[in-house]
C-alpha cells in the first residue's frame, strides 16, 4: 500500500472506531461500567493488518475524538489509559507470541487489561482502591466480550484477505 492509500485507510478505520465507540455507549449492559469493547475490533484489526504503530495511532485518535463528542477530561483520561494499556498488551502478545496464541486470546487479554487500567485510573482519581471490588465482574465480562471481539476480528481478517491480495498484485504490476 502506498502512503496516501495507507493514510486514507487509517482515517477510515479511525472514523469507524469513533462511530462504534459512540454507538456502544448507548447500548444498555447488565452491569454498570461494563462495556462491550467493540471498538477494540478496529484496534486489533489494525494491529494485524497494518502494524503496531498504526494500532496505537488509532487508539489515541479514537479516544481524543470520542471524548470531544461526549464526556470531558476525566472520561478522556479514563479511556486513554485503558486503551493504551490494552493495546500495548495486545501488541506484545502479537509480536512475540504470534505463533503460540490465537487472536481470541490476544483480545481477551486486551479486554482484561483495559478493565484493570480503567479501574486503576478510577482508583487514583477518587483516591480509594476499594473500587477494585468491581474487578471480578469486569474480569468475567472482559473474557466474554474479548472472546467475541476476537472471533469478529478473525472473520474480518478472513474477508479482507482477498482485498489485500488484490492490492499486492496491483502494486507488483
Amino acid at each position: 500500500m502506498n502512503k496516501t492509500k495507507k493514510m486514507v485507510f487509517l482515517s477510515l478505520l479511525v472514523g469507524m472506531a469513533v462511530v462504534i465507540h459512540i454507538i456502544e455507549g448507548q447500548i444498555p449492559v447488565l452491569f454498570p461500567g461494563v462495556k462491550l469493547g467493540l471498538a477494540n475490533i478496529i484496534s486489533l484489526f489494525a494491529l494485524l493488518v497494518l502494524g503496531w504503530k498504526e494500532a496505537l495511532v488509532i487508539v489515541v485518535l479514537r479516544t481524543i475524538i470520542s471524548s470531544i463528542y461526549g464526556g470531558g477530561f476525566s472520561v478522556f483520561l479514563f479511556s486513554i489509559v485503558g486503551g493504551l494499556l490494552s493495546n500495548i498488551v495486545m501488541i506484545i502478545l502479537y509480536k512475540f507470541f504470534k505463533d503460540g496464541i490465537s487472536i481470541s486470546s490476544i483480545s481477551v487479554c486486551g479486554a482484561i487489561f483495559h478493565n484493570i487500567g480503567q479501574l486503576f485510573v478510577a482508583a487514583v482519581y477518587i483516591q480509594d482502591f476499594k473500587i477494585y471490588i468491581y474487578l471480578p465482574v469486569l474480569l468475567i465480562s472482559g473474557v466474554i466480550t474479548g472472546f467475541f471481539v476476537g472471533v469478529s476480528v478473525k472473520f474480518l481478517c478472513y474477508h479482507f484477505k482477498d482485498m489485500f491480495a488484490k492490492e499486492r498484485r496491483r502494486d507488483d504490476l
Partner: protein
C-alpha cells in the same frame, strides 16, 4: 487450542479466583458492622449518615462545577444515586448500596458514595 491459549486461560482463571476470594474476604471482614454511608465530592466528605437510623427517606443534591449535579436518596438501610446529569450514568445504574464496603462512583463529577463499617478515628478517641 494452542499452547499460549492454555497459558492465558490458566492465568485468567487464577486471576478470577484470587479476585473473587479477596472480595469475599473483604465482605466478611466488614460483616456485622454499622452501616455508615459517606457522600464524598472531590475527596471531601460532604455527608456522613448512619443508614440504620434513617426513618424517613431523604434526598441530597450534590452540586458541582458547570451545573453538574447528582441526586442521592437515602432510605432505611440503603442509599443510591437516583439522578445525575453525567454522560455515562454509571452511578445511577449501580443501584442500591446496602452492605458495608459497597461503593458507587460518578467519575465525571468526582462524586462517590460508599458504605463503611464504622466511623473512623472518632470512636477510638471516645474510649
Amino acid at each position: 487450542m494452542k499452547k499460549g491459549d492454555k497459558i492465558v486461560l490458566m492465568t485468567v482463571l487464577a486471576l478470577l479466583v484470587v479476585s473473587f476470594l479477596s472480595v469475599i474476604i473483604y465482605r466478611i471482614s466488614y460483616k456485622g458492622k454499622a452501616l455508615n454511608a459517606k457522600i464524598i465530592q472531590n475527596q471531601k466528605v460532604l455527608v456522613e449518615v448512619d443508614l440504620e437510623k434513617i426513618d424517613e427517606p431523604k434526598e441530597w443534591m450534590v452540586k458541582g462545577e458547570e451545573g453538574h449535579y447528582n441526586i442521592i436518596r437515602v432510605e432505611k438501610g440503603r442509599i443510591r444515586f437516583i439522578e445525575a446529569n453525567c454522560p455515562d450514568l454509571v452511578c445511577v445504574h449501580t443501584g442500591w448500596l446496602s452492605q458495608p464496603g459497597d461503593i458507587a462512583v460518578c467519575m465525571p463529577h468526582n462524586v462517590l458514595v460508599k458504605i463503611e463499617g464504622e466511623k473512623e478515628e472518632l470512636d477510638e478517641i471516645s474510649y
